[in-house]
C-alpha cells in the first residue's frame, strides 16, 4: 500500500495551488476554478482519512461537498454572467463597488 501521507501531501499541494490561484488571479472564472481545486483537495483528504480509519463516513462528507460544490458553481456562474451583462467585465478588480 501507498503511505497515507503521500495522499495528504498531494492534497496539501493542491489546496495551496488553489489558495495561490485565488490570491494571484484576477479573472473571476479562474478564481472560481481555484476554489473548485481547493474543494477537491479537501475531498482527497476526506477520502484518504475514510480509508485510513476504515469508516465510510468520510466518503459521505465528500458526497455532500460535491452537492454543495455543484450548487455553488451554478449560483456563482450565474452571478458572474449577471455582472458581465451589467459591466462587460469579469475581472474581480473592476467590481469593487458595493452599490450597483
Amino acid at each position: 500500500m501507498i503511505p497515507p501521507a503521500y495522499f495528504l501531501i498531494l492534497s496539501g499541494i493542491l489546496l495551496s495551488l488553489g489558495v495561490a490561484g485565488v490570491l494571484i488571479r484576477r479573472n473571476a472564472l479562474v478564481v472560481f476554478m481555484s476554489i473548485e481545486l481547493m474543494l477537491n483537495a479537501t475531498n482527497l483528504a476526506f477520502v484518504t482519512f475514510a480509508r485510513l480509519l476504515g469508516s465510510v463516513q468520510g466518503q459521505v462528507v465528500v458526497f455532500f461537498v460535491i452537492v454543495v460544490a455543484a450548487v455553488e458553481v451554478v449560483v456563482g456562474l450565474a452571478i458572474i454572467v449577471d455582472i458581465f451583462r451589467a459591466r462587460e467585465t469579469v475581472s474581480v478588480d473592476d467590481v469593487d463597488l458595493l452599490r450597483g
Binding site: Y6, S16, I24, L29, S34, V47, V60, V62, A70, V73
Partner: protein, 172 residues
C-alpha cells in the same frame, strides 16, 4: 503497481493544478481542472472509494466543467484580466502566502502521529464493498438521512437562484 498508478495520477493532478492557476486563457484553466478531476477520480479508486470516483466523473468532470466551459464561451474576448493591478505586489505576496500555507500543511502531515503517517501498513482493513454505492448509500440513508434531505433543498435553492439571476433584467 499501485505506487506507479499513484505517481502517474498525482503528477497529472499537480500538472493540472498548476495549469489551472497559470494558464493565460480561461479555457485552458477549465481543461486543466478537468485533468485534476480525472486524476483525483483515479486516486479515489486507489483509496477504495468507487462510488465517489464515479460521482466525481459524472458531477464534477461531466457537469461542472461543462458549465464552466459554457460560461467561458458565453463571455467574449474582452472579459480577460486588466493590465493594471489595483493592489501593488499582489502576485509575489500571494505566492509567498500560498507557499507559507503549504509549509504549514506539510509540517502538520510530517509531524502528525510522530511522522507515523508514512507507514505503508497504516490503512485499516476494509470489508469488500467498502465505498461501493451500496456501502455509502447504507450510511447515507440511515445516519445521514436528514442532511441528505436538506441537500435536496439546497439543490432546489440553487436552481431557483440560477433562474432568478439568469432572467433578463427589467430596464430601470
Amino acid at each position: 503497481m499501485e505506487l506507479v498508478v499513484f505517481i502517474i495520477a498525482a503528477a497529472a493532478a499537480l500538472a493540472g493544478g498548476v495549469g489551472v492557476i497559470a494558464s493565460a486563457q480561461p479555457v485552458r484553466s477549465a481543461l486543466s481542472l478537468l485533468l485534476v478531476l480525472g486524476s483525483l477520480a483515479i486516486l479515489y479508486l486507489l483509496l477504495a472509494a468507487e462510488f465517489i470516483a464515479v460521482l466525481q466523473v459524472i458531477v464534477y468532470a461531466g457537469a461542472i466543467v461543462v458549465l464552466f466551459l459554457f460560461v467561458i464561451m458565453l463571455l467574449h474576448e474582452r472579459s480577460g484580466e486588466g493590465r493594471h493591478e489595483k493592489l501593488p505586489r499582489q502576485r509575489p505576496v500571494g505566492l509567498v502566502l500560498a507557499t507559507a500555507f503549504l509549509g504549514v500543511l506539510a509540517y502538520a502531515v510530517f509531524t502528525a502521529r510522530g511522522g507515523a503517517l508514512f507507514g505503508a501498513s497504516l490503512f485499516a482493513d476494509v470489508p469488500p464493498g467498502f465505498g461501493s454505492a451500496q456501502g455509502v448509500g447504507r450510511v447515507l440513508f440511515s445516519a445521514y438521512l436528514l442532511p441528505f434531505e436538506v441537500a435536496s433543498v439546497v439543490l432546489l435553492v440553487g436552481i431557483v437562484a440560477a433562474v432568478v439571476l439568469g432572467r433578463a433584467r427589467p430596464v430601470a
